[in-house]
């Protein structure tokens, strides 16, 4: 599994500069756009904190989700359909679990980098309010795996990238909008609120917010963590099944 991770890192070495830069640019722009721009319209902030401080932890979780989606869609489809690199790996003495696990580990590495970049910039802008803030990195990784694993399973099932567009439109976009990143889920109609509860991102957003604002998550924190872990476990199990079906025929 480590050798597979190493392979993905060697591959990443070619493009790391550009991707590292973009993981800095994105938080910088949001800091300016949402904090200074939108924030000035949201007078009085949300739940007693400034809008920027409130939105940053949500954006960290949401960035983790976006990065994980980016790494588990086209790259996975390509490794099955276009570059066929998974099939080359399957001919080596690796198990399906190594091939999948190594790739997921790389996706989590990417998630971690983008979350660290975001957290560092948030720190520079003074929007972190607790020594618990680094916990947001762990939350980001949980969010990352909870979406990357089921998405990889999905990408292993389809044969054309038009199905990825469906996933982005009908799952990823609503999840980014309705998971309490930009406004509290309580302001949503009940149906949409339950969709937010069902999908993994909201749980990460809430945990992340507690971490950077130094709030006590209480028993709900445990529920969030358990729910994310359940998504991770189910996603990994499903992905392993789908990968097996494709690689061992």
């Amino acid at each position: 599994m480590l050798a597979v991770l190493e392979y993905h890192l060697v591959n990443y070495r070619r493009t790391w500069r550009g991707s590292a830069l973009s993981s800095l640019v994105l938080p910088l722009l949001t800091m300016l756009g949402f904090g200074v721009g939108v924030g000035s319209y949201v007078a009085g902030g949300v739940d007693g904190v400034s809008y920027l401080d409130w939105i940053v932890p949500g954006l960290i979780a949401s960035t983790a989700m976006q990065t994980a989606i980016g790494e588990s869609t086209w790259p996975v489809l390509s490794a099955f359909e276009w570059l066929k690199t998974y099939f080359a790996q399957a001919a080596a003495p690796l198990r399906v679990a190594d091939i999948l696990g190594g790739h997921l580990a790389f996706m989590l590495f990417r998630v971690l980098i983008s979350a660290v970049a975001f957290l560092a910039i948030a720190l520079a802008f003074g929007t972190l309010h607790s020594w618990w803030s680094p916990v947001a990195l762990i939350v980001a990784m949980l969010v990352g795996l909870s979406v990357a694993a089921p998405t990889a399973a999905y990408a292993a099932t389809i044969s054309s990238d038009s199905y990825l567009a469906i996933l982005l439109r009908f799952a990823v976009l609503p999840m980014s909008l309705f998971s309490g990143v930009f406004f509290p889920v309580e302001s949503l109609p009940v149906v949409l609120r339950w969709i937010a509860y069902a999908l993994p991102l909201w749980h990460g957003v809430d945990l992340s917010r507690d971490a950077t604002l130094g709030l006590d998550p209480g028993w709900l924190g445990l529920v969030h963590a358990a729910y994310l872990i359940a998504w991770c476990a189910a996603g990994c199990w499903l992905a392993h099944r789908r990968y097996r079906r494709r690689l061992v025929i």
Partner: protein
């Protein structure tokens, strides 16, 4: 001596379709063993079962004395695989393709780098070591795939149609490298639908058709058993070659009518040609040649190998 690969009644099904239909195979250490057959014969399906990426649907398969379903990773550690379609990583450099792949076998980085350099030398790609794979020619990619298959110093190398799609010069270069490997004592298992490839490289081969084995032996044995020493190819300027069959009755031991020519299987080609002329037949062209595996295949299946 025990076989490195032993198959008995080996079957591969895809749903209702049987791609490999009960084949018996023994591959011995150090030999070059071939599967010769047309498209869809089941060659790749067999290779993938031997490569332990495709579980058999029935029968017995033993590789290096191990069970491919239970001991897949242990067997694959000792195999080198060159699949029918190159699956090199086109985004990595030539050298990185070898070093990252070596890591999948648990080979130390330093050893991997050294071995990559040696292998690039062996397949004559040293100059391209640091270039991307994408712009390489088909022949170069094939050689790199072969180099990658050797990175773990395998006991058996599986080559699925190693030269299909290559121009003659590139093919000869690949053949020459494979021949060197064979001399080094590496066991080669290859598939092909080129009879010249089979004749050049294989010590022993099976002729495969429709998932079954039609015959087995060395190229020479097969030709002796299933064909005559020489073949006369006659082309008549006519809509159909069929009417000439009766007129050529008895000239050779056997006769095959193809859409564009008639083949006469004879011991002595010149003598047969003389007889054709004695019968006042005037073919547009006459060619006398030695029998090949193509003729063996035609005899066994009633079809030509390459459509």
């Amino acid at each position: 001596m025990a076989s490195l690969i032993r198959a008995r009644g080996l079957i591969k099904r895809f749903g209702d379709f049987t791609a490999v239909d009960g084949i018996d195979v023994d591959v011995r250490r150090g030999e070059a063993f071939g599967f010769l057959g047309p498209n869809g014969a089941g060659k790749s399906s067999t290779m993938r079962m031997i490569g332990c990426v495709s579980p058999p649907s029935g029968g017995v398969l033993e590789i290096l004395g191990l069970d491919p379903v239970r001991d897949g990773p242990a067997i694959r550690a000792k195999l080198g695989v060159c699949p029918q379609l190159d699956n090199l990583d086109i985004e990595l450099t030539v050298r990185e393709n070898l070093t990252t792949y070596a890591r999948f076998f648990g080979i130390a980085r330093k050893v991997a780098r050294r071995r990559a350099d040696e292998l690039l030398e062996f397949v004559q790609l040293t100059e391209r070591a640091d270039s991307k794979v994408e712009p390489l020619s088909g022949g170069m990619k094939r050689r790199l795939t072969i180099a990658r298959a050797l990175v773990n110093e395998p006991e058996i190398v599986l080559l699925d149609e190693p030269t299909t799609g290559l121009d003659p010069q590139a093919r000869h270069l690949v053949w020459e490298r494979l021949f060197r490997l064979k001399q080094q004592g590496v066991t080669l298992v290859l598939t092909t639908h080129y009879m010249d490839e089979a004749e050049q490289l294989c010590d022993r081969l099976v002729v495969m058709d429709g998932g079954r084995i039609a015959a087995e032996g060395s190229p020479r044995e097969l030709i002796e058993r299933y064909s005559t020493r020489e073949v006369v190819e006659l082309r008549f300027n006519a809509e159909s070659q069929e009417p000439y069959a009766s007129k050529l009755e008895g000239v050779g031991e056997r006769l095959e009518v193809l859409p564009d020519r008639v083949l006469l299987y004879v011991a002595d080609g010149d003598e047969a040609v003389a007889e054709v002329h004695r019968r006042s037949l005037s073919p547009a062209s006459v060619l006398v040649r030695r029998s090949s595996l193509e003729d063996v295949f035609l005899r066994l299946t009633g079809r030509t190998l390459v459509e």
